[in-house]
Symmetry: C2
Subunit: 191 residues, 2 copies
Amino acid sequence: MKKRLGPREQLYPMPAVLVVGGTMDKADAMAVAWIAIGGATPPTVMMALRRTRRTLELIHATGEFTVNTPRASQAAELDYFGITSGRSVDKFAESGLTLEPGSIVSTPIIVECPHNLECRVTREIEVGEYVIVMGEILETHAEESILDETGEKPAIENFDPLVYIPGMREYRRLGEKVADAYSIGKTIMSD
Amino acid sequence: MKKRLGPREQLYPMPAVLVVGGTMDKADAMAVAWIAIGGATPPTVMMALRRTRRTLELIHATGEFTVNTPRASQAAELDYFGITSGRSVDKFAESGLTLEPGSIVSTPIIVECPHNLECRVTREIEVGEYVIVMGEILETHAEESILDETGEKPAIENFDPLVYIPGMREYRRLGEKVADAYSIGKTIMSD
């Protein structure tokens, strides 16, 4: 039996990343869960931000941003960036997270986050009080300790990324493997 | 030490949902991981689909779609919808998944998926070989068995949604709770 819950901005699960705007001299960051890949030609990210965010102002100033994924052990730092405003405190000084220059864009990446994307804004779409920012992904950085044996991609056990659960408003880590994608579905195909 | 991996359309983790297009008489569905909330005023979903998808044709025909989230135990069904095309087989007949009418839109929802969103297309943006489809969320359905004790929102343990991990191309379930959001970050704030 299903129950109607009304229109809700909930989808399960959500990522939990830190989006940085600005430069090494003047940067701010915010916690973002409303973010996904927006295409592969070119590699694109899309995210919905409140229009009033200081990080968005800084993104507008340079036309660039970075997406930094924390480990599950960094839940407090991510949450802190979500509940404070860079207009009143220096989030980096207080949280202990630090910045280093990106390779391509002028916006820095977060040293302590093991996975980082450098992005350049390609388009913005206003939706009510929010702005959907699309960016081309120009570079990916990964801490070597999170890579698999090939050294070419993250092994999720090593990475242990944070996950956000809306509604309940909690952070989780990933659990056990269920199946291989592009594979388990073949068990359903008829001959 | 970080390694540069180049531009990649990867973000961790991703949801794993079935998007339905069409009507009770003629429907198709596809597996989608590139999807997120696109704003709250109004509640909006955004997703990136390949332009050539049959489900997209059906979404264009009605201007509506539904987003259906499977349980971890339905990984084979979700994967099957991702690796087959509705142009050559009847995915619903072969997978055993069934449809029921939505409450608001003409596109049906998937009975066996415990969480469903009814959406109306508000905007489309072409990005290379992909189309970003934005839709207003008009209704949410949740299986009563996944709700928490208030009956008003999903309890994630009861829900047990599927999660997709790009790169490794595997499905996982959610793991243990790490912390409460909008709360754990306060431990970092100075007085």
